[in-house]
Each structure stands twice: as structure tokens, then as C-alpha cells.
Amino acid sequence: MTDDTTVTADVAEDVQASEQSPLALVSGKPVVDLPKDLYIPPDALAVFLEAFEGPLDLLLYLIRRQNMDILDIDVSEITRQYMDYIDVVESMRFELAAEYLVMAATLAEIKSRMLLPRQASEDEEELDPRAELIRRLQQYERFKKAAEDIDQMPRLERDNFVASASLPKLPSSQPHPDVDMKELLLALRGVLQRADLFTSHQVEREKLSTRERMSAILSVLQDDRFVSFESLFTPEEGKLGVVVTFLATLELVKEQLIEVVQAEVLGPIHVRARSTG
């Protein structure tokens, strides 16, 4: 960093400028002066493009800072200068430079129109050609201010922090998925097709009510104890129920899931799950 702040020739004329801290460093040299007109030195362009949010922003500054009269600019000189550094900035942020060029062209147009003698016949309503530009500057300025206001507003992560506490152990509250019977059948169809079980009639042979009763009997026989054969039957179910229970018992015996014990001829019959014990 250098202490040399006398890099510009304008310092003597512009005492104010020499008193302020440098805007930025360009190639290690502090830049104190902001441009006098719309011409931006190519080597400082990147810096100025950072400092200003576009030509309107720059113009707003110039109007006050340099007391610039937007009519009093050398249009041909400015245009030439703009053309010069477009080459330089092509690789950087050309689209921004182009906007400054458009602004220069706008100013040139305003100036040329101002130079033309006004025709008396022309509509009195016609605005001063500067009016549109001034309207845009004023409009832009409002939102520039609004952006600054927003930046000042208290916001999360800077001025406000959301309060949160850690969680205790939460009960599992995962809701159960819904299942449609059709989905279940579709799944069954899939697996049976894969297993090619449709061709053998093995699955279909047993009545489902028998299968259900087999499960029921097994759950009664959970403990390692004998249960009387009769207690498996529920007379209230009627004949059909008794038959189903009987078939289920036979199937369980066949599958060697239960054992049936009769201690003496015509004595009480007991059943027990084979797997227990």
C-alpha cells in the first residue's frame, strides 16, 4: 500500500477530493477521484463498475458531485472514449459497459435535440428532452433508497436468530400407509405367477376358512400344554364350524404342527403344539 495520494492532477483543484480516503486501489494506486464525466479510464473500469450500479447510478452521482450539467458534455469526445475502451472491457463485463454506452448515446441525443431550434408550431405539451431522463433518475433513486432501507431492516442470521430447543425422545408417530385389497391381490398375483403356482393347484386346494382355523388352533396351543380336543370346538358355530375345526386339526396333524394324544381307548383326546416343549 502506498501513501502517495497525489496520483491525479486534479488534486490541487479539488481539495475536497484529496481529503477523502481513496475509493479503491487500481493497480495498487489509490483512486481518489470519481470520473468528471461519463468517461471512465479503462484500467479503473472494473472498480467503477463495482462502485456504481449502472449509468443511472453514476449519473446521479455526477449531477451532484461534479455539478455536472447533463447538457454541457462533449458528446463527440465521450463517444470516442467509450468506443476506445469497449475493446478493453470486452473480456470483462461487456454488457455493463454497453449500458454506459447507451447512456452516452442518450445524452448525445438529448444534447442534439436541445441544440435544434424549437419550432413554434410544435406542441407546447412536448416535454423538455431532459425530462424523461430526469424522471428515470428520480425513479431509480427511490428504489436505490428502498434497497438501502431493506439492507438496514433487522433480518435473520444477522439481527435475529430463531430460537430452537433440542427434542426429547419423541414417540414414533409414523402414520401407517393405507393398503387397498386390490393392491394385496395384485401383489399375490405377481408372486404366484413368478412361483408358477397357478399350474399346480396346491394353493387353491385348501379352503381359506380351514387355514384360518389352523392359525386359531395354533394360537390356542401357544404354551407347552395339552388342551382337550373338545375345547377346540365351539358348538355355537354349528355343523359347518365343527367340520372346519376338524379339517384344520387334521391338516395340522398332517403338517406335523400338532400332536394328538389319547392315553387310553375312548379316553379323552388331548392336543399339543409339536413345536413347543
Binding site: 408417530s173 400407509p177 393405507d178 386390490k182 394353493v203 404342527l257
Partner: protein
């Protein structure tokens, strides 16, 4: 060290613990203060005791854990808080549905038998899910090496599917002719997918957040 000063340290401590969302040690809490205002360790310990008291009767409490102090939602409110995190029910996997169907139609059946028919392993998760949902239960153990559990469906399973008994399950002959059902289900799933597609993300503005 007057009361007002202590209350201030307490409020800053509370603010920090709530902003951190993780435990902070006594040292970390002391570090939040500049050197000239930093409370002594004993003062800080006293403040923690005050803060603990101040949380009585509230929705949260001060807890001391290995890495320091943290503020934690009281366990007695866990069941309400849990509703915040309720997820949308997911769909069951095809593997789970196949397993359930086989248990329903072939009960009592062991896991090994299900695997034989499906030709793939049945994950323990599937069995656990079905047991937790109380759709299946263990009705015994088959008397073969390893004594595998035999599964059967439950009354809850019948209730869920509006059946009085297993004999009301559609007969397998109908299962054979499921082409139409399959198309219908796929249509429903399609509709569901469209409903959840990101195009409709404007819709969540209308719902309450």
C-alpha cells in the same frame, strides 16, 4: 454483582442456548462475553441454576449433557410436539405386500416358506412392520431345525380389510384375472404422482404453513 446484572447474564445465556440449538459448555458460554464483562465460573454456575429455575412450568428445560448445557423441549409434551414431524404415510413396498398376501392365503407359514415361494429373501424389516402393525402374529413354531416362527393374520388384519373371516378373501381363481385391477391401480398411482409433481408447487401458498 447485583440481581439485575445476573438477570442480564441469564437472558444472554438463554438467548445463546436457544440460538445455538446444540449444547454449549460453561466455557463457551463465558466466551460470549468480552473480557471485561466476562462472568466468573462460579457466577456462571449460579446463573445456570437460576435459568433452570426460570424454566419451571414452561415448555422447555435446562439439561446438562456431556458436552455442556442445552435447552430441551420437555418430555411431557413430546406427544404434541411429535405431531409437528408426522410424515405423510408412505406406500408399502411390493415385497411387503407379497409377504402379507402369502401369509393371508397360506397361513400358518414360516418365513422360509414365504422365501421359497417368492424366490427372494424376506427382510426382517418387513416381518417387523407387519407385526408392529398387528396384521400378522406368530402362532407357533414349526418343528424343524431352527424352529422357525409360523405367521398368521390377525383380527386387526380382517378388520382393516373389512372382512369377517379369511374365507371372504377373494378366491385365488379371481386373483388370476387381475389384469383390470392392475390397470386401475396403476391409473390411481399415476394420478397420485401428478398430484405431487413440482408443477403444482404454487398450490402450497394456498395451504396454511
Amino acid at each position: 454483582m447485583n440481581d439485575e446484572h445476573l438477570r442480564r447474564i441469564q437472558a444472554i445465556t438463554e438467548a445463546a442456548l436457544l440460538a445455538a440449538g446444540k449444547p454449549l459448555s460453561l466455557e463457551q458460554l463465558r466466551e460470549l462475553f468480552t473480557e471485561d464483562e466476562r462472568p466468573a465460573r462460579q457466577v456462571m454456575e449460579h446463573v445456570m441454576a437460576l435459568l433452570e429455575q426460570a424454566c419451571e412450568g414452561r415448555g422447555f428445560e435446562l439439561r446438562q449433557v456431556a458436552s455442556g448445557y442445552r435447552l430441551q423441549v420437555r418430555e411431557e409434551y413430546a406427544s404434541w410436539v411429535a405431531r409437528l414431524f408426522e410424515e405423510k404415510p408412505q406406500r408399502y413396498s411390493r415385497a411387503l405386500l407379497e409377504t402379507l398376501a402369502l401369509i393371508a392365503y397360506r397361513q400358518p407359514i414360516t418365513r422360509g416358506e414365504i422365501e421359497d415361494i417368492r424366490g427372494v429373501t424376506v427382510s426382517s424389516n418387513i416381518i417387523r412392520t407387519l407385526l408392529e402393525r398387528e396384521w400378522v402374529r406368530v402362532v407357533g413354531h414349526r418343528d424343524v431345525p431352527g424352529r422357525p416362527a409360523m405367521y398368521a393374520t390377525t383380527k386387526q388384519f380382517l378388520d382393516y380389510f373389512n372382512l369377517n373371516g379369511l374365507d371372504q378373501l377373494p378366491p385365488l381363481s379371481e386373483v388370476r384375472d387381475l389384469e383390470e385391477i392392475g390397470r386401475e391401480i396403476e391409473k390411481n398411482m399415476q394420478a397420485e404422482i401428478e398430484f405431487e409433481s413440482p408443477e403444482s408447487d404454487d398450490s402450497d401458498e394456498k395451504t396454511l404453513h
